[in-house]
Amino acid sequence: MIERTPILNLATHLILAVGLVLILVPIWLAFVAATHDLQAVNSAPVEFWPGDQLWPNLKEAWALSDFGQKFVNSFIVAIGVVVGKITLACLTAFALVFFQFRGRMVIFWAIFITLMLPLEVRIVPTYAVAANALSPFQTIMDWTGISWLLNSLAGIEVSLEWNLLNSYTGLILPLVATATGTFLYRQFFLTIPDELVEAARMDGAGPLRFLWDILIPLSKTNIAALATIMFVYAWNQYLWPLLVVTDRANYGVVVVQLSDLVPDQLTTGGGTPTWHLAMAATMVVMLPPILIVIFMQRWFVRGLINTDK
């Protein structure tokens, strides 16, 4: 739809501009704060132009937080979530769209409903499962009396245990098990014409061959979009890593570490708040997601609007 409405055009551009300012000003202020020393950043009128202390601030913040290992951890978790999510979403949607089986819709809705239960909502049960990933099975066995049966017949005390706390698996798996990707893939797979599926069948391609040769190449843009979203999502996770990791030195991630730099009663103990370090660290932590988005942008947009046939 193309309309010629100069006033409306002006208004929409104005809204765009305001939105841009709202988003950019805080980032600019963070950047400015990262370039000043302790005195300047705490002096009364807020500095609006960058100073010359960026590099020293970055070095100090990096050393203070031991960011080296944390960055490696964050990358492992983010990439693990991206790969796991794409694989899981793709296979689940493939099964849901291209195969007829009993309970297909029930399974779809069960997956769909988890969209309404983000990790933050179900964090306590998720933590319980992470503490012992086999506890649901234990519960089932206890309830159905299998444990009792085994105990009385064979004298075996059933006590399943698989601890995921303080591990990459524990950090990654709960973030992988969400419905967003599955839903995105399902919607894309539904747009694949039946005739294409049939042509592949006539050409002799089995289901896995069809998935690999046709569906995956066709969903490249979707993969890019999902990868971008999931990377940023996993990178920005705060609550879950905070909860599941007690061994910060080995498994801590940057976002949690960053919060330690933010001055409050505990960290400064009433001293001058070190905002310049917190902001310098923020700049570093922000960098990977921004680079990913810039790098993937072209694919990302195509994947979401889906005009590429």
């Binding site: 294409l196 049939e198 042509a199 069948r201 050409d203 002799g204």
Partner: protein, 368 residues
């Protein structure tokens, strides 16, 4: 190359019956066109042969082997789809060669066969293009090449020409027939376009509501339609039907308006039986009002260039005729008509079946 035997095939979806007890044998190397309106089950029949749908009851055998439980790839059929169904992310060469790739044919041999097949359908210069960069006709050729390269026993075409413009359609029609004459694989072609059916087919199969109405050569079906349905479906403009009662005493059909059409032979109908007299528009001649067998009122004259199509009404029954006369009488004018009864058809008014015993009497079959 193979014979296809379809025995008593029924297809239902839940409680809806799509196809009821269809029997048909397609001979080795034959080009059969299945013709019918949308929803008559013709595509379903094709998909049952291909193995894309499961047969509810009955059996289908290809080259003597019952294929009910075989996967599409095991049946030796190749199919050309209406929307071409090309893989959008693959080049023409990859599209054409995909079946061979799946079958594990070595790359060198595959490329050689792709090049050869592409040449035979005039695609040699387009092998590196993607389907999105091709015109409709070229895509159609890719779809054909993809089918040909597998050297199938059976070719299946699912309305492959309906997405092309009129001129290209005629051109591709000739192309398909040429390719068939070359490779002589058994071919089944589904269409709703009777021109495609008439021009392509060795034998035509006319379907209606999930059953086969008539099987025969295009000439047989045009000259001796087995039922009212076939008679009305084949031929353009469509055949005229005049309902009436047979009068044994006068050996004539008494039309509802009272006009009496004397028949040249004995139709074998019983006295007072309700019948439909069918006559094609090209077998009607114009006379002055009152001087023909029957009078009609003119509604519209359509100029077709070489001839003119007159749309008339006899009482309230629509009636059309084709004439070369250039006269252009005013709308509402009355005109007399003479029916060439050697070319008339008589159908049982109740069952719609052709009255077979009448054929010899009513109709001089043209020498073929």
């Amino acid at each position: 190359m193979a014979e296809i035997a379809i025995r008593n095939v029924t297809k239902t979806y839940g409680k809806t019956t799509i196809m009821q007890g269809v029997n048909l044998t397609i001979h080795n190397g034959e080009f059969v066109v299945i013709l019918g309106p949308s929803g008559c089950g013709k595509s379903t029949l094709l998909r049952l042969i291909a193995g894309l749908e499961e047969i509810t009851a009955g059996e289908i055998a290809i080259a003597g082997q019952v294929v009910n439980d075989l996967e599409p790839r095991e049946r030796g059929c190749a199919m050309v789809f209406q929307n071409y169904a090309l893989y959008p992310h693959m080049t023409v060469a990859e599209n054409v060669g995909y079946a061979l790739k799946v079958a594990g044919v070595p790359k060198a041999e595959r490329m050689a066969r792709v090049a050869e097949t592409a040449k035979s359908v005039g695609l040699a210069d387009f092998l590196d293009r993607k389907p999105g960069q091709l015109s409709g006709g070229q895509r159609q050729r890719v779809a054909m090449a993809r089918a040909i390269i597998r050297e199938p026993k059976v070719f299946l075409f699912d309305e492959p020409l309906s997405n092309l413009d009129a001129k290209l359609r005629v051109q591709m029609r000739h192309e398909i027939r040429r390719i068939h004459n070359q490779i002589k694989a058994t071919s089944v072609f589904v269409t709703h376009d009777q021109h495609e059916g008439m021009t392509l087919a060795d034998r035509l199969v006319v379907m209606n509501k999930g059953t086969i109405e008539q099987v025969g050569t295009p000439a047989e079906i045009y000259d001796r339609p087995a039922s009212l349905y076939v008679a009305g479906f084949i031929g353009s403009p469509a055949m005229n039907f005049l309902p009436g009662q047979y009068s044994a005493a006068r050996r004539a059909v008494v039309l509802e308006g009272g006009a009496v059409i004397g028949l040249p032979g004995d139709p074998g109908a019983s006295d007072g039986q309700f019948v439909q007299l069918g006559i094609r528009p090209e077998h009607v001649a114009l006379r002055a009002p009152g001087h023909g067998m029957i009078d009609a009122r003119l509604e519209i004259v359509e100029d077709l260039g070489a001839s003119r199509l007159w749309n008339l009404r006899i009482e309230d029954i629509p009636f059309s005729l084709i004439t070369e006369a250039r006269a252009h009488p005013p709308v509402g004018a009355t005109t007399g008509l003479v029916l060439d009864l050697r070319h008339a058809h008589l159908f049982d008014g109740a069952t719609g079946k052709r009255m077979e015993t009448t054929l010899g009497a009513l109709r001089a079959v043209p020498a073929q």
